[in-house]
Amino acid sequence: MQAITLINGFLASIGRSTLAMLAAIGRLAIFTAASVSHIFRPPFYPVELAQQLLRIGYFSLPVVGLTTLFTGGALALQIYAGGARFNAESVVPSIVAIGMVRELGPVLAGLMVAGRVGASIAAEIGTMRVTEQIDALTTLSTNPIKYLVVPRVLAATLAMPVLVLIGNIIGVMGGYLVGVYRLDFNSAAYISNTVDFLEIGDVTSGLIKAAVFGFIVAVMGCYHGFNSGRGAQGVGQATTNAVVSASILILASNYLLTELLFTA
């Protein structure tokens, strides 16, 4: 009898967790649908959009640039060391370029922006929730989704491909610097190998990924900020949730997009 009660309790807890998870997915889906639908309906807030483009795009350049620069350099060293095992050191330029542009550029930029921008969005909107600034927007006849969420989502979706494009160039340059000055590659040959092997599809697929990752980062930041709990602890938890959920979704959607773009 006691065993049956224990099993029932265990099954009930699984059921509760599953229902709570489905409810959370539902809330997120409704929030995302509302955010997307408001992108196309007036009023529009161009000044807020421009401010967010600056904050999300321009101010993320140093962190994305440094990340891709060092990753490009490390990648060149790794490929050179690995390639040397079967006399294929010459593949360094092409693999660095393809690896950066298709995979590492968008994913690393996405994760770095999730940490920098996703956290900042969640903390800012969470604080606005706790201090009743979002309620104040409503009483001033301003839709908080339109005023707060749409400019951030749009700015992140538009800025990420540009950030990744610049990050890719810097990452390939990191590989070039290590290849030429550390591994003694010929400069012209390195550039020629990079350009010859890289196809336009490699670049566009990375930029599509970047746009999706930007969208994910902004939506998760806004969603967790909007649903922030009370007090400093609530805002802190919202910030953590925004970064963790955006990072996981970036990695999961990266796999799905790779399947879709390269194996379909």
């Binding site: 104040a136 409503t138 009483t139 001033l140 006849s141 301003t142």
Partner: protein, 250 residues
């Protein structure tokens, strides 16, 4: 034919899970009058305001404005509110906070016009024009409350809500804010609802007083009658006594 009340609440109820915050609240606010809702912490005063604003959806009951069912968009168009903590937008300068509504839409004011409007409203609440160009974080608590008040009256609204207008202020600043609220409401002829625990606010601001207790309106009447209402709950509350029918947490 009698003029309908500006705001009528009929049998309003709201629960959060098992917690029944509002059980059966019926209340009327006449046009141009100032109603103050009093009650202990957690009695549902803020929920009552949020129901009227549409931020919280009531489980039962009706809200009428000018005798018609509440149209949230129309209602908010001619409405101002002073929040407990000010709720000023940190990222915007004071002038933009005050003229926020007027900087939206097709007939938006220019930056210069908005700044002039903000300075005029700042003067009305006793602040200097230079304040318009500061950010909320640079202001004291009392100044933030005044800026919040300036924002609430920026469009000369027909209805104004005040949520705990004197919380966190010293007694002198609280008195100044109370006087300002009373002056402005009378001058504008606005209908107002204030929620507070502060009895000095009640006496300074109210025409009518309603006491919320246990999710219902316990007492409702003129401010002049609160000292001889004969209601033990109201008596205990206005005299701040620990002993009485309202259970306090010790």
């Amino acid at each position: 034919m009698s003029i309908p009340a500006k705001i009528s609440l009929n049998h309003l109820a709201k629960a959060f899970g098992p917690n029944k915050v509002l059980r059966d609240v019926s209340l009327e606010v006449e046009t141009g009058k100032s109603l103050v809702v009093i009650g202990g912490s957690g009695t549902g005063k803020s929920v009552l305001l949020k129901c009227i604003l549409g931020i919280v959806t009531p489980d039962a009951g009706d809200i009428l404005v000018d005798g018609k069912p509440l149209n949230r968009v129309d209602f908010l168009h001619d409405f101002g509110m002073l929040f407990q903590g000010g709720a000023l937008f940190d990222s915007l300068p004071v002038w933009h906070n005050i003229a926020f509504r007027q900087r939206q839409g097709k007939n938006r004011l220019s930056k210069k016009q908005a700044q002039e409007l903000a300075i005029e409203k700042l003067r009305r609440v006793g602040l200097k024009p230079e304040t318009a160009f500061q950010h909320p974080a640079e202001l004291s608590g009392g100044m933030q409350k005044r800026v919040g008040l300036a924002r609430a009256i920026a469009t000369d609204p027909a209805v104004i809500f005040f949520d705990e207008p004197t919380t966190g202020l010293d007694p002198i600043m609280a008195g100044v804010i109370n006087e300002l609220i009373r002056e402005i409401v009378v001058e504008m002829g606005a209908t107002s609802i204030t929620i507070t625990h502060d009895m000095s606010s009640v006496r300074a601001i109210a025409d009518k007083v309603a006491m919320l207790h246990d999710g219902k309106i316990r007492w409702h009447g003129d401010v002049t009658d609160i000292d001889h209402s004969g209601d033990p709950y109201l008596d205990q509350f206005i005299h701040g006594r620990a002993d009485g029918p309202i259970e306090g947490v010790r």
